[in-house]
Amino acid sequence: MSAQNGTGLRSYKLKVWRQPRGAAGGKLVDYEVSGIDPGMSFLEMVDQLNESLLKRGEEPVAIESDCREGICGTCGVVIDGMAHGPIPNITTCSLRMRSFPNGATITVEPFRAKAFPIIKDLIVDRSAMDRIQRRGGYVSVNAGSAPEANATPIARDVQESAMDSAACIQCGACVAACPNAAAHLFVGARVRQFALLPQGHPERNERVLAMVEQMDAEGFGDCSNHGECEAACPKSISIENIATMRREYMRAAVGKR
C-alpha cells in the first residue's frame, strides 16, 4: 500500500521522559531510532526503540496502550508539547510516523497534572477519573428491571447530540492540555449525555452535584475558558459540554427539578 512504500525509511532523534517508579522526578533521555517506515504508528516506533533497548540489556520505556485504534483511551503522551501529538482529533496510537519529517527531534513526555501522579516513565495514574464516574456517571437501573426499549422514543437529534458527548474515551488529554489541569471537558461530556437523555433525568441533580464535588476533591483545577482541552481532545468533544455542565450545576444547586 502507498503508506508503506515510496517514501523511504526514516530516522529520528527522541527525547523521552524517564522516571523510575516511586521517584520524585525524572529527566529527558536521548535516543535514536532508524529504519522507521512512514506508515508505522507512533507506538510501533516506540516498540522498535524498546526492542533495541532490550537487546542492549537496558530497560524499555514504560508506556501504555491497548486497542491501538483510538477507542480504549489507554494511550496518551505529550508529544512535542501537545497531548496526543501534533495532529488534531486523534489519539497517540492513531498517529503515524508520516506526520514527522525525516530526521526530526521528537520530545515525548507523560500527561502532567496534579491529579495524575506519574507511576513510571510515561505512565500516569488516571484513577481519579474513575472515582468521578463512581459518583454518578450512570443511570441507576438493576439488571432485569428495564422497561421495553421502544417505550420511550427519543428524537433523533437528541440521541445524536447525546452520542457526541458519549464519544469521550476518558483518556485525560483534556486535563493534560489545560493550563489549570481541569477535568471539565471530561466531566461535562458525561453530565451532558445524561442531561439530554430522558433516562438520565431522575438523577439529574444529584449526578452533577456529586461528580463536580468529586472533581474538585481530586485536585483538578478550575476552568478559565482557555479551550486547550477541546483542541487536544481526540474525540472532538466540544466545550459546549462545559457550558452545559455549568448550567446543570446551577440548576441543581438551586434545587430545580
Binding site: 500500500m1 517508579r21 526492542e51 491497548d66 483510538g70 456517571g137 437501573v141
Partner: protein, 650 residues
Amino acid sequence: MNAPAIGQLEVVDGSLDAKAPGGDIRTRWDRHRFEMKLVNPANKRKYTVIVVGTGLAGGSAAASLAELGYNVLNFCIHDSPRRAHSVAAQGGINAAKNYPNDGDSVWRLFYDTIKGGDFRARESNVYRLAQLSVNIIDQCVAQGVPFAREYGGLLANRSFGGAQVSRTFYARGQTGQQLLLGCYGSLMRQVEQGRVKLFPRREMLDLVLVDGHARGIICRNLVDGKIERYAADAVVVATGGYSTVYYLSTNAVQSNATAIWRCHKRGALYANPSFMQIHPTCIPQMGEGQSKLTLMSESLRNDGRIWVPKQKGDKRAPKDIPDSERDYFLERRYPAFGNLVPRDVASRAAKQMCDQGYGVGATGRAVYLDFAEAIGRLGESVVRDRYGNLFDMYHEITDENPYQVPMQIYPAPHYTMGGLWVDYNLMSTIPGLHVIGEANFSDHGANRLGASALMQGLADGYFVLPYTIGNYLAGVAPGKVKDDHPAFADAEANVNAGVRKLLSLKGKTTARELHWKLGRLMFDHVGMARNAKGLTETIEKIRALRAEFWENVQVEGSADDLNQALEYAGRVADYFELAELIAIDALARDESCGCHLREEHQTEEGEAVRDDANYAYVAAWEHTGDFGKPRLHREKLDFENVHLATRNYK
C-alpha cells in the same frame, strides 16, 4: 517425537455432563431456572465471588452479582475497567426484537446462529441466548446507551453478515464502547455502594483449588510486582479472546490467554481451541514492525462490493479497470447472500482469490471493497453518515481516501470461538470455576455470526450467570476458605517460580521476535485452511520455537517493579503452549466445519465438507502434563430442533 495422529491420543466419551435440560426447547431455560437451587437473599452478602475481567461479560456479571447482594472482587489488567477490549467493537449487537417487522423471531435468531456456527454448538445454549437477546436491548437502553434511532425516535436496525433480516442495534461505529460504558456505569455504582471491590492493574496468574473446588486466584500487582492472594467462594473468569496467539490480530495488544490457560493447566477442559475466526474485512498487513491489524466493521459489506480483477496480476489502478473486467466473486458464487455471506465463507473466498494470483495491492494479499456504486446510488453524504468514522480510520491508517479509491481488505485473526468448556450453567469442569464471554467456548460453534459476541457476553453476565452461580453457591458454606490455606502458598510459589525463571534467562532474542515467528506459523498453517501435513510439521516447529524461547529470551528489569517486558514474556510463554493444543485440535478434527477448513475435505468449488457422522461433537481437551498428549473428551451434540444440513448461502 512425532506429532500425534488422532489414533494415538486417548479419547474419552460420556465424561462430560452439559446439564442441558431436555424437553421443549422453548421452555428449557424457564424450567431450569425453576429447578435450580436459590441462595436466601439474606445470605447472599456472606458469599464472596471473584470476577476476573471487566469487559462486557465480566463487568455485567460483577455489577449484577453485586445488585443481587453478593460480595464481589473484580479484577482487570487495565488501569480502568472501561478499557476492556469490548470497547473496540464497532458494528453492533443482535437481538430478536423484530422491530423492522421483517420476519425475525427468537426462533430465527436461534436457527441462524446454529446454522452459522455450522452445527457445532449446543442447541439449548443457543436458544437461551436468542431468548435473552431482547432483554439486553431493554437493559442497555435503560442505562442510557445512545443506540441509533429513526426519525420517529424509535430504535434503528441494520443487517449484518449471515442474516437476511435486520436485527442489529448499533451506536455509530462504537457500539462496544457505548455498551461497555453502560456496563461500567452499573459496575461503578456498585463500587460506590461498596458491594464491588475493584482491583485494576492486576494480572491473574494462577487459580487456587481447595479440595478440587475453585476458591481463589493469585495475581501480580502490575504496579509494584507484588504477588497477591485472593480467596472467595467461587471464581468467574471473563478474560476475553486470545487471537493474539497469531501475533497480528484485531485484538488489543494486551489481550491474552494467560488466565484461561492457567485454569486449563489446573484441570479445566479446553474446548474447540482450533475454532478461530479470521475476519474478512481488515486492513491488510503493511510492514514488519506492525503490532496489530485494524478491523473495518463488517457493516461495510452492506453497501461495499468486494471484487478483484478478472485478469491475474492486473496492475492497473482500480478506476481504470472497467466493470466487465472485474470479478465480484462473492456475488458470483453466492447469489442469495452476495457480499453478506458469513465471515468464514467470505474470508476463505478472499484467500482463494489471492492464492490463485488475483490479489491486489503491493503484496497481492488484498481484495477491493468498493463503495463507488453505493456513493452513486445513495450520495456521498449518506455513505458518510453510515460509515464516516470507519472511512476516516481507514484514511488515517493507509493514507488513501476510500471515498475516491476502493478500500483494500484482507482477512485477519479476530475472534476465538474456542475457550474453556462450560456446561449450561457456565461452569467449567472445575467446580466453582465459571467462565463467561469470549473466554468460554459456548454458543458460536465453529463460526460466530457478526454482532453476536456482544450479545453473548451480556447475556452471560446480566442474565445467565447471576442465576446459575446461585445454584452452585447454595451447596457451599460461605467464607470457609481463607488465603492462609496451604493451597494458596503452593500456587503463589508456582507463580513466583515462573516470574523468576523468565527474569533469569538473559538470552539474545526478545519475546516479540519469537511471538512474531509463532504468529506467522499459525496464520499460514493453522489459519483459514489447514491440512494434515502442514499441521503435523507446524506442531514440531511450535515445539522448537518454544524451546528457543526458554533458552534464549531476554527480559529486562525487576520482578518488584512495573515491568511490561516481564508481563508480555509471560503471556508469550503461554501462547507457545496453547498454540500446540490449537494445532493438535485442528489435526484431530478430520473434517471441515465453519472456520475450520481441512483442505482434504472440500468440494470441487472449495466449499467445506462436514462429517456429522464422526465429528458432531465438542472437542474438550484435558491437560495431562505432556503438551503433546492431551486427552480428548467428546461431548456429543444432538440436533433435535434444527436439522443437520449442509450450509448453503447460494
